[in-house]
């Protein structure tokens, strides 16, 4: 019974923790501009993150060490450094975007200007990382993030023409007012939002924090195989909401305040309360995860003592590096840069840097020295190779498309 509850909790937190500011913004932008013609990318992204997280979770559970430690040891410091530079910079961008997201959501709830919320949000992130146990931190934010299910509820309350929606999903095409270039650019952004590298580093380091072993592999697989697809459905609901309310009004999403309007349209003030709680929880949870991921990657590369399972005094550099990351995030946001813009760039840069994080995990997951009999099977490797090609294409195409489309504008 206890094990069953553990599995259920794991699935629920995986769903609630799936959506972050990148998913919220990118899905809403895509829904408002392209309708449901890019839903297939979410499906591709969700299968990719399942594959990616499953491999890195298995590496952590079998070797007892986080992915980054193993990458550095297996591939050497130079390859590890490229990986570190890419992952860390994207993590930093994502930390900034998530803290900005918390502040924007709090502004929507209170009408107090978001810049005033930024230090509050950052201090809260630091306090939780400093004081709260890993499992509590993960479960509370994940469960509160489940209130984002209101997006799916709003879809039904908005009484859509299901046939038309199905048509857009099954026969995707570039809308008349958009170009094939912008369609491709947002396809990559959506893919990057679904496959953000920090999720994988957090997942594998979390496995070490929670002392997973081989016996926990089944539960980890269930969490990923059930929780992530349901989280993906949440992402698609966000796009559907935007496609139903914002697209017909000629609205292109540029702010978080636009993302909540379809929910208010369908579910009124109660729905609004749910969505605001959900956005705060999702962005706050992701801010915790990205901040921790920044600390994890640095500490695991440089060989510092790390982990929330250790007292802060025993992992001083790990905690200090996270404080510095939060301060950098505050500094960037204090310049007045739009957090939504930071988010839009961060998801595209995630896609650009994805090969640097994906390939090493694929290599290590095939190394019997670390994985023993738990190396990738043939089917996983075949899928892994297909995704390697997809990831490489997305990575190579992202910058030219960014230039051609003026970053999607």
């Amino acid at each position: 019974m206890k094990r069953l509850l553990g599995v259920a909790l794991g699935i629920l937190t995986a769903i609630g923790g799936f959506v972050d500011i990148g998913d919220l913004v990118t899905n809403a932008v895509v829904g408002s501009r392209f309708g449901l013609s890019l839903v297939w990318v979410v499906v591709v992204g969700v299968v990719g993150i399942i594959l990616f997280a499953n491999m890195s979770g298995r590496v952590a559970a079998v070797s007892g060490r986080a992915t980054f430690e193993v990458i550095r040891e297996r591939l050497g410091p130079r390859a590890g450094l490229a990986n570190l530079a890419a992952s860390f910079l994207i993590n930093l961008m994502t930390v900034t975007a998530e803290i900005g997201g918390v502040a924007l959501a709090l502004q929507l709830a209170s009408s107090v200007y978001y810049l005033l919320w930024i230090p509050v949000a950052a201090v809260a992130v630091w306090l939780v990382i400093w004081r709260v146990r890993f499992s509590i931190m993960e479960n509370v934010t994940g469960l509160l993030g489940l209130t984002l299910v209101i997006f799916a509820v709003a879809v039904f309350l908005l009484k859509p023409d299901w046939g038309s929606l199905a048509g857009q999903v099954l026969a995707p095409s570039v809308p008349q007012q958009e170009t094939a270039w912008s369609y491709s650019y947002y396809a990559i952004a959506l893919f990057g939002a679904a496959m953000t590298p920090y999720e994988v580093f957090f997942f594998s380091s979390g496995a070490v924090e929670e002392k997973w072993g081989v016996k926990d592999l089944a539960q980890s697989r269930i969490n990923v195989l059930v929780g992530f697809p349901l989280g993906g459905l949440l992402s698609i609901s966000i796009a559907i909401c935007a496609a139903l309310v914002l697209l017909p009004a000629g609205i292109s999403v540029t702010s978080l305040s636009q993302v909540i309007l379809p929910v208010a349209e369908g579910a009124g003030k109660l729905g609004l309360a749910f969505v605001l709680v959900g956005i705060v929880a999702a962005t706050f949870g992701a801010a915790l995860e990205t901040t921790l991921s920044s600390g994890y990657t640095l500490a695991q590369f440089f060989g510092w003592s790390w982990g929330k399972f250790r007292r802060p005094a025993e992992a001083a550099r790990f905690h200090l590096s996270m404080i510095v990351c939060l301060l950098v995030g505050i500094g960037v946001l204090a310049t007045g840069v739009d957090p939504v813009l930071v988010t839009e760039y961060s998801v595209v840069f995630s896609a650009i840097a994805l090969p640097l994080t994906y390939l090493p995990i694929l290599i290590v997951a095939n190394d019997p020295q670390y994985m023993h009999e738990h190396v990738n099977g043939r089917a996983v490797n075949a899928l892994g190779m297909v995704y390697l090609v997809i990831i490489l294409v997305a990575s190579l195409a992202a910058i030219p498309l960014m230039i051609v489309t003026g970053a999607g504008s």
């Binding site: 502004q107 929507l108 709830a109 292109s252 305040s257 009124g268 970053a407």
Partner: protein, 161 residues
């Protein structure tokens, strides 16, 4: 168990070089993505962005009137969209049109964007008025509807060129 890093100085140099290249690449990207076409294209983009902002504000105002949106969320939405209009206006203002036709287009766009900003001022004042006084929420919606019509006309004109 974990190896400590053992970088050679050359590797450090390469790392610095790579960091410099990355900064340059990001700066070049920011420059290139910030580049835009001529006056017509810039005005067209500004008008589209402002149309989207005004349409959003009208939905927020309507939802507020119907009791679907809290005052905090409605006023935040209006603030966000006003910022969008300001950005568009600033873009149009900074254009350097080369021909008389482009100068006329710039002037028309600025007039319409000013009308949008005025519409937003009325709508925000309506939201701030809680005693049922003037302007009312429907006054705010009317002002925004007027701005939306003007934007549509300008959009048609820019599209015809």
């Amino acid at each position: 168990m974990l190896n400590t890093p053992a970088w050679a100085p050359a590797a450090k140099g390469r790392a610095h070089g790579a960091a410099g290249f990355a900064i340059l690449a990001v700066a070049a990207l920011a420059f290139l993505t910030g580049c835009s076409g001529g006056t017509g294209q810039s005005v067209s983009t500004a008008v589209k962005d402002s149309s989207s902002a005004v349409a959003t504000a009208r939905i927020a105002l309507r939802q507020d009137m119907e009791g679907k949106l809290t005052r905090a969320a409605a006023s935040t939405t209006l603030d966000d969209e006003l910022k969008e209009v300001h950005t568009s206006r600033s873009t149009v203002l900074k254009l350097s049109p080369a021909s008389q036709e482009d100068r006329d287009l710039q002037k028309q766009a600025l007039d319409v964007l000013d009308q949008c900003a005025a519409g937003f001022a009325t709508a925000r004042a309506a939201l701030a008025t809680s005693d049922g006084g003037s302007p009312s929420l429907s006054d705010g919606d009317k002002a925004l509807a007027g701005a939306q019509d003007a934007l549509k006309q300008l959009e048609g004109k820019v599209g015809d060129k």
